[in-house]
């Protein structure tokens, strides 16, 4: 058996890792705010955050394609700043993936924060812990499972991305050709052997990730 070109696999893992890191950085404050706020616009923000769950990826991809175009404000600004376009680039894929996987970060975190409630934070504040201290030493450990779920779901969801990537990224080897696109391309060219290998790798990888999560979840200390 000849191993097909594995660069789409590495690209996919890189994309999923970068996306997950960015999502945790952006999604945590958003989820925190959603869990605490009593503003009337909360349902609006929640609905916008959840949109990628229901929207066909091609619709999201289509709007992003327009937004990323060098003729648009954002796309033009990006070209001015970096000298390259957002469309058909790895950076564009990262932005698209962050939007596409946003609900998979925000929702588990928001429910974890809501389940924790304000009580432990109030207790910490009367023990002289400031806001950041409270978050790091009380909220984060109590919501550990929420963070694990958010990270894994975002990572896994980005691995399986296809429609959005096809729309904004195209099929540039080493830049935007992720594994789902590569498999599609092999099938189109009737190279079933390579499609088998790549699909098998994805299957094994996805299973391994989920197995790791469920194992960790069982071991994760919960002393409630």
């Amino acid at each position: 058996m000849i191993l097909p070109d594995l660069s789409p696999l590495w690209l996919t893992l890189e994309l999923a890792t970068v996306t997950t890191v960015i999502l945790l950085a952006l999604g945590t404050p958003l989820a925190w705010w959603l869990a605490q706020t009593r503003t009337r616009v909360k349902p609006v923000i929640e609905a916008i955050t959840a949109l990628p769950l229901v929207l066909p990826p091609t619709v999201l991809g289509f709007y992003l394609l327009i937004l990323f175009s060098p003729k648009s404000t954002l796309g033009g600004w990006w070209v001015d700043m970096t000298g390259s376009t957002l469309t058909f680039s790895f950076a564009g894929l990262v932005v698209a993936s962050v939007l596409y996987s946003l609900p998979f970060t925000v929702q588990p975190l928001q429910s974890a924060f809501e389940a924790m409630g304000r009580a432990p934070l109030e207790a910490a504040s009367t023990l002289r812990a400031g806001p950041l201290d409270r978050f790091l030493t009380v909220a984060a450990p109590i919501c550990g499972r929420g963070f694990l779920t958010a990270a894994v779901l975002s990572f896994a969801h980005t691995l399986g991305e296809f429609g959005v990537v096809l729309m904004v990224g195209g099929n540039i080897p080493g830049e935007t050709k992720v594994i789902s696109i590569a498999i599609y391309e092999r099938v189109e060219t009737i190279d079933y052997a390579a499609a088998h290998v790549l699909s098998g790798i994805m299957l094994a990888l996805s299973f391994a990730v989920l197995l790791l999560v469920y194992t960790l979840n069982r071991r994760f200390p919960v002393h409630l």
């Binding site: 207790a123 504040s125 009367t126 812990a129 002393h223």
Partner: protein, 356 residues
């Protein structure tokens, strides 16, 4: 000294309180929904939408454009539900407070010893009983070296046995007297046992405030405290232990006999006599099973709207309170100055806050 002059409104509720809390243990007493817990939360800084001023020893915590957040106030707060951190062991919970306390803080070893926590240190809160949780919660609050200790019904969720387990710890804490304490409760027996001062709260307003002994023996306060809860608190000294299992207590007007109390002769005790457990008789009753009968003089008769009246009595130098029916009061012709005998059907005992 903690001075407050605050108001806080939310739909269906309006709290307005102006008061200065002194040293020692002050009870904040009231029915559920009277605003006790809200008042405590405002003092701790947990209600940022409250208005007015809160000052601790001259430092403004709240008011005129200032709002100090809870972590800068240095209040120790014991919540009704303990609120231990579930991801930390008992030792971890205690260290959490110790690490953030201003140095030099209270000694961890001392607090662990005071609250008998060494067998619990390695356990997680999920493995503690309700009483153990509250002991840890109180110890944790003390380790943060608070300027004032706020306790929000720390015993309310516990059964009588567990309560009896914790009360001695609270009494010792109060007797050391190194930190002012506010103690929210809806149990007058706890208040009578623990508090030197009391603030009675109802529907967001202070009804009465003063020394516990004065408020509890004031017949006019009976409706505010609740008919079933009212009762005088007085001091007694253990006079003798008798062979038949009774302990003799000396009060100013004579002797009381109670089932054996495990306290040495000479110990000062604080006893509480519920108003509804006091019967009155114009002549000294004969042929009655009650052991405890004290001579007394009526000082006031307070008639409310209901069928009951509250009668204030002076027995020796002690004040008593009796709750009887209006019909009986009329039949006996009770007016201030009437000499009578008080028949005590029950007496609750606790160690006095001084000299115990």
């Amino acid at each position: 000294m903690l001075s407050v002059d605050i108001s806080h409104s939310f739909p269906g509720f309006d709290l307005r309180v102006s008061h200065s809390f002194g040293a020692g243990l002050t009870a904040i007493f009231g029915k559920s929904g009277s605003g006790k817990s809200t008042l405590l939360r405002i003092l701790a800084g947990l209600e940022p939408h409250s208005t007015g001023t809160v000052q601790m020893n001259g430092t403004v915590w709240q008011g005129s454009g200032t709002f100090l957040p809870p972590h800068k106030r240095g209040v120790g707060y014991v919540f009704q539900d303990a609120r231990l951190f579930p991801h930390l062991t008992v030792a971890g919970n205690l260290r959490y407070a110790e690490k953030r306390a201003p140095q030099p803080g209270p000694s961890m070893a001392q607090v662990v010893q005071d609250f008998d926590l060494s067998p619990l240190l390695a356990r997680y809160p999920g493995r503690l009983s309700g009483g153990e949780k509250q002991r840890v919660a109180i110890a944790r609050a003390l380790l943060s070296a608070p300027r004032i200790l706020l306790m929000d019904e720390p015993l309310a969720a516990l059964d009588a046995t567990r309560k009896a387990e914790i009360l001695p710890y609270l009494e010792r804490l109060r007797d050391r007297g190194d930190i002012p304490m506010l103690y929210v409760s809806h149990s007058l027996s706890e208040v009578a046992r623990l508090a030197a001062d009391i603030v009675v709260l109802d529907a967001g307003r202070i009804l009465r405030a003063g020394q516990t002994a004065d408020v509890l023996s004031d017949p006019a306060a009976v409706p505010d405290l609740g008919v079933r809860e009212a009762g005088a608190v007085l001091r007694a000294k253990v006079a003798a232990h008798h062979a038949d299992g009774l302990t003799e207590l000396a009060v100013s007007a004579g002797a009381l006999f109670l089932p054996r109390i495990s306290a040495a002769v000479g110990t000062d005790l604080r006893i509480r006599i519920p108003a509804q457990d006091v019967m009155l008789s114009l002549t000294r009753p004969e042929g009655i099973s009650a052991l405890n009968i004290l001579p007394a003089t009526v000082t006031a008769v307070h008639r409310g709207d209901g069928p009951g009246v509250a009668v204030a009595l002076l027995s020796g130098s002690d004040r008593l309170l009796a709750r009887i029916t209006r019909r009986s009061a009329d039949a006996l012709g009770l007016v201030p100055g009437t000499a009578c005998h008080a028949v005590l059907k029950s007496v609750a005992v606790s160690h006095a806050d001084v000299g115990a």
